[in-house]
C-alpha cells in the first residue's frame, strides 16, 4: 500500500514516543497521589522534563527527515533580507585571500595563458607591420612610376 511505507513508520515512531511518554506520565501521576502534592509535583515535573528532553529529538528527527526543508526555506524565507543582516566584511576578513589567489593561480597555469596570449598578440602585430610594409612599398613604387615614366613603362 502507498500509505504503508513512509507514513506508517512515521506514525508508528511518533505514536510509540507518545505512548511511552503517556505511560510514564500515568505512573508518575499515581506516585504523585501516593506521595503527597508538593513532593510529588516536583518529582513529576522533573520526570516530565527528562521525558520531553529524550522524546523531542526522536520526534523532530522523524518529522524533519520527511520534509523538504530546502523547499520550505526557499518558499517562506526572504533570503535577501537574511543576507543583508550578515556582516560580509567580517567574513571576508577571516578568509586567506592571498592563499586562495595563489591556489587559483597554481590551478589555472597563468604563465602559459600569458605566454600564449602575448604570442598571439605579437604574431598579429608583426603580420600587420609586414602588410603595411608591402602596401608602403607599392605606394612608393607607384609614385616613382609617375615621376619616372620610363621606369613605369618597363615595369608594366
Amino acid at each position: 500500500m502507498g500509505l504503508r511505507s513512509p507514513w506508517a513508520s512515521w506514525t508508528a515512531q511518533i505514536g510509540g514516543a507518545a505512548s511511552f511518554a503517556s505511560d510514564e506520565l500515568r505512573r508518575d501521576a499515581m506516585r504523585l497521589i501516593a506521595a503527597g502534592p508538593v513532593r510529588g509535583g516536583r518529582a513529576v515535573a522533573s520526570r516530565l522534563d527528562r521525558l520531553v528532553t529524550a522524546g523531542i529529538p526522536v520526534v523532530a528527527e522523524a518529522v524533519l527527515s520527511r520534509m523538504d526543508l530546502t523547499d520550505i526555506v526557499v518558499r517562506h524565507v526572504d533570503i535577501d533580507q537574511v543576507v543583508k543582516t550578515v556582516d560580509l566584511d567580517a567574513a571576508v576578513n577571516q578568509v586567506d585571500l592571498l592563499g586562495v589567489a595563489q591556489y587559483v593561480i597554481d590551478g589555472v597555469n597563468l604563465p602559459a595563458i600569458v605566454r600564449s596570449s602575448s604570442a598571439s598578440f605579437t604574431t598579429e602585430a608583426v603580420h600587420g607591420l609586414r602588410v603595411h610594409g608591402v602596401e608602403a612599398d607599392q605606394a612608393v613604387a607607384r609614385v616613382v612610376g609617375h615621376l619616372i615614366p620610363r621606369r613605369r613603362s618597363t615595369s608594366s
Binding site: T123, V126, H127, L129, R130, V131, G133, V134, E135, A136, D137, Q138, A139, V140, A141, R142, V144, G145, I148, R151, T154, S155, S156
Partner: protein, 160 residues
C-alpha cells in the same frame, strides 16, 4: 636572380605565398634597417656596460664611467653593425629587422649569400648606407650594394 619589378607582381591582396621571392621595396627595407639600427644601438650599449664593468672590477676605488669620443663611438658602432649584418646574412640571409618585416637577402642562386659576399655587403652597407635609396628608383628594387655584389632583398615571410 630576381626579375620581377617592385610592385609589378605584388597582388592587391597581400598573400605571403604570392609575395615570396618578389623584390622588396624601399619602405620595408628602411623599416627593417630602422629595427637593425636599434639592435646595433643595444649592442653598443651592451659593449659600453661591459667595458665599464671590467673597469670597475679592475680598479673599483678610482672607478669613473668611460667617456669615449664621438669618433670612437661611431667606429665601434660601425664595426658592431658590420659584424651583425655579416653574420646574420651569412647564416640565414636575415637580420632581426628583416625577420620582423619578412625580408631576406639572397644571392644570385636565390639562397642566402656566401660569407664573403655577406661580409662585403655588410661593409658596403655600413660605409655607404645611402646606397639603399637606389632601391626606390631601380626597377628590380636593387640598392647600390645589391648592384655591386649581385644580391637582392626579397619578401620571404617566415612561417609563424
Amino acid at each position: 636572380m630576381v626579375t620581377h619589378p617592385v610592385g609589378g607582381m605584388v597582388p592587391a591582396r597581400v598573400s605571403p605565398d604570392a609575395l615570396r621571392g618578389t623584390p622588396a621595396g624601399i619602405a620595408s627595407r628602411a623599416a627593417a634597417n630602422l629595427i637593425d639600427f636599434t639592435v646595433t644601438g643595444s649592442l653598443l650599449v651592451g659593449v659600453y656596460v661591459g667595458v665599464a664593468t671590467l673597469r670597475f672590477l679592475r680598479n673599483p676605488r678610482s672607478f669613473t664611467f668611460p667617456a669615449p669620443s664621438l669618433a670612437l663611438i661611431i667606429l665601434v658602432g660601425s664595426v658592431l653593425a658590420g659584424l651583425y649584418f655579416a653574420i646574420c646574412w651569412a647564416f640565414s640571409g636575415r637580420t632581426y629587422g628583416a625577420l620582423v618585416l619578412g625580408l631576406r637577402v639572397v644571392g644570385r642562386e636565390g639562397r642566402h649569400p656566401r660569407p664573403t659576399v655577406a661580409l662585403l655587403r655588410a661593409v658596403a652597407c655600413v660605409v655607404f648606407p645611402v646606397g639603399l635609396v637606389w632601391c626606390g628608383v631601380d626597377r628590380l628594387g636593387r640598392s647600390v650594394q645589391d648592384l655591386l655584389l649581385r644580391t637582392s632583398v626579397v619578401y620571404d615571410w617566415p612561417d609563424d
